[in-house]
Structure formats: structure tokens, C-alpha cells
Symmetry: C2
Subunit: 430 residues, 2 copies
């Protein structure tokens, strides 16, 4: 395999796989250090993943939650970026093989995030939509709108209902926020767009295997989010699993069947593992096992941070929660450790600082478990909006998101109802 | 062919093919009238076509220049919208056949706009990009950015130059505005994004067959736009035609060759004609011939407006210019005539009121031929920005465009440099 054309250097090379929250943070905090920092990502932009559901439900444009990687680093001289897919890590020779050639590293940081876990349900995998990337979100937006346009053309009532209905699997933050946003569309937007249709027939189902929504949050957050969702007309199924989905009928573990031509699978993820590092997967086989300095078990100068990594601690025996704030803290600490190692000092163990979590259900309705306050309703919603505006990368993106949200709030409208590229159902998520 | 499922009515049915500037205006001005208004369009949104080049050059997000058709008409009770492609007009039975079934009409308004005219140059058609729709603009944006990412990977200097270079064919408003926007990218944005590349090697060529740019505007506008473009580093070729393009080399009528892997064809259009109406094409075979009440020659209750139509008048022997303001005036007048005909009064002849035209080359640089003033430079640019902000449909779109332009102006930056969907060169425009 050819070497990738990279500016020559005699400094140590830090290769970072993945430009998510963790990877970006490592590179930023190595600014001005005597290293060459290389980020590899399949896309030329960083995605603000927690807001993908807003793109899927016409609340934000894709451009507001994406930020060009090169723009983040435009003034950082030790930074190199390449759009590439990493195919294999060849640890013996400190080298990653990619779609554009091979690259040598002195330090390797794996921050590849997760991919969807279908738990072996092949039919679900072939027929469900997922929500991991911007194209996924745009496909979902197109599909929901296309379904409504198609409903207008048919007269069979069963087909109409199943075209209008949506089943969301997984009651974590993604599922809950998506269900809430669809509930808002159903209540405020779609009746105005489709006066010819009886929008009450649109059913939004949210299916969660455990006894409560948002299992990682407080009991109060769970019960309030359930209450908010039911107010928006979402039908929540707790203690229920999906057994099969053929593209039209959802078979549930309680024996019931739901008619729906749209299923969104948000029920589980696993680490996005690169070939050559599989031996570091833990018993669950889902995430890379790391020690308290992010070192991947069994690989000297290879590190993993963020959702792909599992650091087992007393407080978090199954690793830290998969949150942007965890990845950012880990990225920052990873960079600090690299700076220490460059000076031949020992790396310091990572200590996680819980920043809490929030989920929004819709207009004036959110739940927040924060270190200083647990709250539900308007205040939580206001906190959610504020935190997300601040967290969005780049002033332009903040301002555009602020305009969109302000506009939606005042008008009860969601402006981005565009089928820019038709989604053609083919089946088969990888 | 099945009838399309449309709400039953005993009122006259006005079918409008195409939701561009003209078609939208007809439907709006028939609000509250005793007719059923049906718009058919391939997309669920109206595109603000004059700003497509801004999307292609990362200046605006696609969502700012698109507006959902249903949203425009959400309070109009006599309005019906269907996403459909019209296949054929069967005039004998007052019926259009579409991709979703057939629809009967009492009045038919054809406002399908134009499609690209390659003048029989097959190789150009297979290898050039066009800029007619939002997906076209997004493909072009992706391609330009992909080319730069690819340039980083190769070492052959000739290949590098041809990947970075862009050839624009056609010195009308689209070609001039696109060339100017690319010139800005080259000057202000790309050097910061790609410090590894020698951006001076990026060549932007603009090729125009006639002796001057913007042939439809004043001589002063032509000479000033040439001067502005040259200041931005654009190489302008006047009195020059393209003879061939194989995807790598552009053969010019003056015998010269230009190396470029990206050509954008903006050199000509022809009416987007629907089957069943070809007999109304004029001698040039490019547009539907209409009389001064928009009646398509030889077809009683069929009308055509906007770019697809050609009303020959003393002032405009080849029909009116292809401008949004013409289509809007014609749409408004068409609706007025339908209202008259409903009352059994005769339709009134259309009189065009010239609103002038503008073209922007870049930062502080535009040319304007307006009824009250002909000006070039900052004032023209300021007028251009103001008129386009006002003309964008919807407050949200205006505000987001304003934010983006304001942001770009202050920072010399264009924020939307995203390859959201990779463009795969396949060749073959239809």
C-alpha cells in the first residue's frame, strides 16, 4: 500500500481516527506542541450528533449541525487533515491502512464512536432507518415527507395509516427526543400542510425494552418524559422488545403487531471497531477495553477515547456513559497525557466529572439531571436550548440555530420541510 | 391511466405545471376565486434559482433558497399540491398524464421553466456539471471540495492543476456570478483551508461566445463585470466557444486547450417542453409560442408563462428575457386573465414592465441596470443584497441568508464547505 502524501516531519506523529467530539478535542489541545497531528475522517466535517434528530424532523438545516474540520483548525500549523476511511491498524509497524494509502504513527488515538447494533435482527437491519450521520438524518426527513405525499395518492385506509405511522425503537435520549419532535410535527405542522389528510391517524410509537424511558437518567426524568410524550400523542410501550420487522408490520415481544412502513432503530450501539484491534474488545464485544490512561489493552502506543472506549471504574463498571461531554473530557485529558509523555513523564489517570444530562421532548418540555439541579419542564427546556446553542461549533452555526429555534418557537412551525433528495428504500444498513 | 386522487369539485380546475416563480404567482393570485388550483411539481419545494450559485460555492445553505410549496399555500383553501412529473398533455380530453396518474383540467398553465441546452455537444453533456436544481448545486459544491481533497493526495503537478481548475462556459448572469464567487473562494477561503497547496495554481476560466459578458445588460455593466472578474483572478475568454470536453481537456474554438477536470455548463437553455405540445414550439424550437394573453398557439385553454414561453413583441422580438421578474409579472397577469375569463370577459394583453437586472461578482462588486439608475461597484452590490434578501420567500429564509451574508462579509469566509453527499462522476446530463 502506498504512503499517503503528508508533509514531511521529524516530530512524533499523532494519528487520530475520527473527527467527533473526542478526536477534535485531542487535536485542538495539541496546538503548538512539538508533534504532527493528523485527523482522518470519512467526512470533511464534524457532526454535532446530539442534534441529528432535529435535522430529521425539519427543525434545523444540516449545515447548522455540521462544521468543516479544516475550518476548526485553520490557524493550527501542526495539523493535517485527510478525508479517508481507515481499513486496518497494523500495530507491529505502527501504521494505519486507509482508503487513500498507509500512514505511520507514533501515537494512535482511536475515536471512531459507535455504529448501530441490531443485535442480530437481520430483518430489522434490512428495513429500519438509523440516525447516526447527516445523510441518515436527511434520508429520514425525506422519507417522512415522502410518506405523507404518497398517502395523498392512495385510498386504502390501512395503507394510509401504515404510511403515516412511525415506530421508534429505543427509549434513550435519541428515541425520546425524536418521538417528541415527531409529536410536535403531528400537532402543529402536518395538519396545516395536509388539510386533505386526517392527521389523527398518524401514530407515533416509542418502544423501550426496560421498564422506563431514559434509563440512564433519574426516575423523575423518566416519569416526566413519559408524561410529556403522552401529552404530544406518542404511544409509549415499556417492558417491550421488537422481535421482527418486515418493512410493514412490527412484531412485539408482547404478541402485539403494529402497522408501520417507517421504523427508526435507536435501540443500541456498539463501538465502531477498526480491523486489527479486535483483540481489545471486552467480554461484551462492544467496546475497546482501555486502562485509566486510555491505553488500549495489549497495544502500547494505541489509545481509545469516547464512545468506542470502555474504561471500567468503580462508579462506572461498564464504562462511562456515551455522551459528548465524556468524549470531550477524555479528548482533553488524552492531549494532556501526550504532552506529558513527550516530556518522558508518566501519563495521569483520567477522572470523569459528571456534567449531568438533558433530553428535550418538545416546546417548553425537557428533563434535566444536572449536578446543581434536577428539573423538568420549562426551565429544563430553557437550559437545554441554552446549552446546545453554546455547544454548537462556530458563531454562524449558533446564530442560524438560534434563528431557526426562535422562529419555530414563535410560529409553532418547522421550516425545513424539504425533500431535496428522494430517499429510495433499498434495505440493508451496514 | 388512473385518475389522481384529488378532492372532488364542481368548480373549474386550473392545473399549473411547475412551482417556479410564475406558477406560484398564478396560484397565489387565484386565492379565494371559484376555481380549484392544482400545482404539480417534481419537488416539494420552490427553488430560488437565481441564488443556486451561492449554494454551489458554499455561501448559502440549500435550505435558505428553498421553500416548501405547501407552506406558501397553507391558508389557501382552493389549493391542491401534488409531487409529480408530468409526462404528457392530452389536449383532446383536457387531461395531463403524470407519474402519479392523470388529472383533468379546465385551464392548463405551463410554467415548466427551462432545461440546459448543450447544442448537440454530446461529450460536453456527458462530462460537464449543470446548475439548474438544488441537487445540481449540492453536487457542484461537493465536487469542488472533493477535488481539493483529492489534490492533496497526488504529486503529479499537471493532475494537481487540472483538479484545482474550473472552467465555466457562458458569460450570462449565472456564469459571471459563479465565476466571481469561485474567485472569492480562491482568494479568501481556500488558502486558509489548504495551506499545503499552492492555491495560485487554481485557475478559473470563464468562456463566452459573444464579444462581451452579460450580453443582455448595458455595455458599461459588461465592461465593469469583466474588470471586477479579472481583479478576482478569473481568466475571461470572449469571442470564444467550446468545441469539445472529454472530462480533462477543454477544446476552444481559438485552437487553445485548457486542462480542467471540472466544467460547468451555463451557456444556454431551452424550454422544458412536455410531450403533446411540441407543435407549439417556434422556429428556433426552444420555447413555446404564445400570443399576448399567454395562449399557446393552436391550443385553446392551454397557456404558458415564464422562461418556457415566448411572446414575440416589437420590443422583444425573441420573447421576454428569462428573468424571475418576468415570470412573476406574467403569473400575476395570467391569474388576472383567468379571473376575467371566469366572468366571461375577454383576457387582457400582457404588457411587460422592465424592472432591470443585476449581477453580483463578489464582495462590494456588482453591476446594476435599473430603470432609475445604472451603477457598478459598491452601490450595485448593496442593491443586489437588499433586493435578494427581500425577494427570498419567508422570513426565516431571509434572516438565515442575512446572517450568512453578514457573517461572510465580516469574516471573508464562506461557512458551508460541507461534502454531505459525495458526488460520484457518472456523466450524462439529460
Amino acid at each position: 500500500m502506498n504512503q499517503v502524501n503528508i508533509p514531511a516531519t521529524n516530530k512524533p506523529v499523532v494519528v487520530i481516527i475520527g473527527g467527533g467530539f473526542g478526536g477534535i478535542e485531542v487535536a485542538k489541545k495539541l496546538r503548538g506542541q512539538p508533534v504532527q497531528v493528523i485527523i482522518l475522517d470519512k467526512h470533511n466535517y464534524h457532526t454535532f450528533q446530539p442534534l441529528l434528530y432535529q435535522v430529521a424532523t425539519a427543525g434545523l438545516e444540516p449545515d447548522s449541525i455540521a462544521y468543516p474540520v479544516r475550518k476548526i483548525f485553520k490557524k493550527q500549523k501542526n495539523f493535517v487533515f485527510r478525508v479517508a476511511e481507515v481499513l486496518k491498524i497494523v500495530h507491529d509497524i505502527n501504521c494505519v491502512q486507509t482508503s487513500i494509502g498507509s500512514i505511520r504513527y507514533d501515537f494512535l488515538v482511536i475515536s471512531t464512536g459507535t455504529k448501530t447494533n441490531f443485535f442480530g435482527l437481520k430483518d430489522v437491519q434490512n428495513n429500519a432507518m438509523v440516525l447516526k450521520t447527516l445523510p441518515d438524518a436527511l434520508n429520514l426527513r425525506s422519507l417522512i415527507l415522502q410518506n405523507f405525499e404518497e398517502t395523498l395518492l392512495i385510498t386504502n385506509l390501512d395503507d394510509r395509516d401504515s404510511l403515516m405511522s412511525v415506530v421508534i425503537v429505543g427509549g434513550g435520549p435519541t428515541g425520546v427526543e425524536l418521538a417528541g419532535a415527531l409529536g410536535e410535527l403531528k400537532r402543529f405542522v402536518l395538519p396545516r400542510d395536509y388539510p386533505e389528510l386526517d392527521i389523527r391517524k398518524m401514530q407515533i410509537h416509542l418502544i423501550e425494552r426496560s421498564p422506563r424511558l431514559l434509563p440512564a437518567m433519574s426516575a423523575k426524568a423518566s416519569s416526566k418524559s413519559l408524561q410529556f410524550l403522552e401529552k404530544f400523542g406518542v404511544q409509549v410501550w415499556l417492558d417491550t422488545a421488537v422481535e421482527n420487522y418486515d418493512g410493514r408490520k412490527v412484531a412485539l415481544s408482547n404478541g402485539k403487531m403494529i402497522n408501520s412502513q417507517t421504523m427508526i432503530w435507536a435501540a443500541g450501539v456498539k463501538g465502531a471497531i477498526v480491523e486489527g484491534i479486535e483483540d481489545a474488545l471486552g467480554e461484551s464485544g462492544r467496546r475497546l477495553q482501555i486502562n485509566n490512561t486510555f491505553n488500549v489493552v495489549g497495544h502500547d502506543n494505541v489509545y481509545a477515547i469516547g464512545d468506542v472506549a470502555e474504561m471500567q471504574t468503580r462508579a462506572h463498571p461498564n464504562g462511562h456513559p456515551m455522551l459528548a461531554s465524556v468524549a470531550i473530557q477524555q479528548g482533553r485529558h488524552m492531549a494532556r497525557n501526550i504532552r506529558l509523555m513527550l516530556k518522558n513523564k508518566p501519563a495521569l489517570p483520567f477522572v470523569y466529572k459528571d456534567k449531568g444530562s438533558l433530553a428535550t421532548i418538545g416546546r417548553n418540555k425537557a428533563v434535566a439531571d444536572l449536578p446543581f439541579i434536577k428539573t423538568q419542564g420549562f426551565l429544563a427546556w430553557f437550559l437545554w436550548i441554552s446549552i446546545h446553542i453554546v455547544a454548537l461549533v462556530g458563531f454562524r452555526n449558533k446564530l442560524v440555530a438560534f434563528v431557526n429555534w426562535g422562529w419555530s418557537y414563535i410560529t409553532y412551525d418547522k421550516g425545513i420541510r424539504l425533500i431535496i433528495r428522494r430517499f429510495e428504500k433499498k434495505g440493508g444498513n451496514s
